[in-house]
Amino acid sequence: MDMVLAVLSWSCLLGGAIFLLIGALGVLRFPDFYTRLHAVSVCDTLGAGLVLAGLMLQGGFSLVTVKLLLMFYFMMFTGPTAVHALAQAAMQGKLQAVVDEHEPE
């Protein structure tokens, strides 16, 4: 049973790490702001979620897991809301031309 838990937890952590890496790659390489938003969403939800899930499996039934659950709950709300607000602000902001320089390539 412990074995199964350990394998599950490690695979969750590994999966999370991979998604984080993908998200980071996207943030670096995507051409414009709106596409980068997608990449960050991957980090925020899948990456963070899987890592937290992995940690929860490590923690077992304890106060630690409760806190992790709370964090998971918070993050599932805050991440998308923040990105949503950013997208909205950017949509409006563009009309007022806040870009300070030209996009490199």
Binding site: F74, F77, T78, T81, H84, A85, D100
Partner: protein, 320 residues
């Protein structure tokens, strides 16, 4: 491994620092400053300073960033290129840095457990505070009891800042301010705020009263409390938030926190002890310490929360 994380974080901090020097857009600089603060907060976790990490993140990445952005919004975003060549400042900085590096040569090594700093006063804090005060978090016991007077000074400093911001910016509740009124349609944010507001306050209470056992305490709780109200103000407008906690009430609360702290000190004096000697507050010395720490942390929390809100109100209600 911890050393590796430590080094990488220091490297990232250096990159951020240089980028701040070079960057011309002040808003960009502000965001980098926020990142700088977050990175140093994670560095504090690596260096075992959990209470400090909590505070730095809440202050640097939270309140300070918001204030800086508000200031840029009220002033201007572009930085003019300096007219004079910055040769003299560069020399001064080089000399100061060289002096400091010269000073490091006789220092004990980083992390050396035999360094004099760890062997004398700090060592006895770690050994004696569980017996003398009975609080597991040594940072809390030193902060609130052994060096409780510093903390009174700290609360006074933050209170002074509130008085200063009130004197310089005041409040203006009417008219168009930089935190605009057009929030009615923001459904997502309002739902989230309604969901989060009570949770944040609950969490603040947890941090306030759990400071004896884990990272936290009055100061951190105060900032979290203020964060909750800032979220409320963001979602429902500054006017609604000010109806919830009027500015006059904030003034009273800010003053009350300092007064609670001072009153605990004076009370222990009246009961025959020295100033801030908590052990006379109850029959049992340990219980007295607990009571004293609880009360002064409450004072700190109240003042900090209200001062943060006073400062926030002051900045965002300024006319554009």
């Amino acid at each position: 491994m911890e050393n590796l994380i430590n080094d990488v974080l220091l490297g990232l901090l250096m990159i951020t620092g240089f980028a701040i020097v070079r960057m011309k857009s002040l808003l960009g600089v502000t965001m980098l400053t926020s990142i700088y603060s977050l990175l140093s907060a994670s560095l504090f976790v690596v260096l075992d300073a959990v209470d400090v990490a909590l505070t730095e993140a809440a202050i640097g990445a939270g309140i300070a960033t918001v204030l800086m952005v508000a200031t840029v919004a009220l002033t201007t975003d572009e930085e003019k290129v300096p007219r004079h060549t910055p040769l003299l400042p560069l020399l001064v900085v080089m000399a100061t840095g060289a002096a400091l590096i010269y000073g490091t040569l006789d220092m004990p090594h980083h992390g050396d457990p035999l360094a004099p700093a760890h062997r004398y006063v700090a060592d006895s804090y770690l050994h004696d505070s569980p017996v003398e005060i009975g609080v597991p978090n040594v940072v809390t016991s030193v902060l609130a009891s052994y060096r409780g007077y510093d903390t009174l000074g700290e609360v006074t400093v933050i209170f002074t800042a509130a008085a200063g911001v009130l004197a310089l910016l005041g409040y203006r509740t009417r008219g168009r301010n930089i935190e605009a009124a057009g929030i009615r349609k923001q459904v997502v944010l309002r739902v989230i705020a309604k969901l989060f507001f009570p949770l944040i306050l609950l969490f603040a209470l947890y941090v306030q009263f759990h400071g004896d056992y884990g990272p936290g305490g009055g100061f951190q709780a105060g900032v979290i409390f203020a964060t909750g109200f800032i979220l409320y103000a963001l979602a429902f407008g500054l006017g609604t938030a000010q109806r919830l906690i009027p500015s006059q009430l904030l003034r009273i609360l800010a003053a009350a926190g300092v007064l609670i702290y001072a009153a605990v000190g004076l009370e222990s004096m009246l009961l025959g002890g020295k100033f801030l000697e908590y052990r006379v507050l109850a029959d049992d010395p340990i219980a007295g310490q607990h009571l004293g720490i609880l009360l002064i942390e409450l004072g700190v929390g109240i003042t900090v929360a209200s001062v943060m809100l006073i400062i926030y109100y002051g900045f965002v209600s300024r006319r554009h």
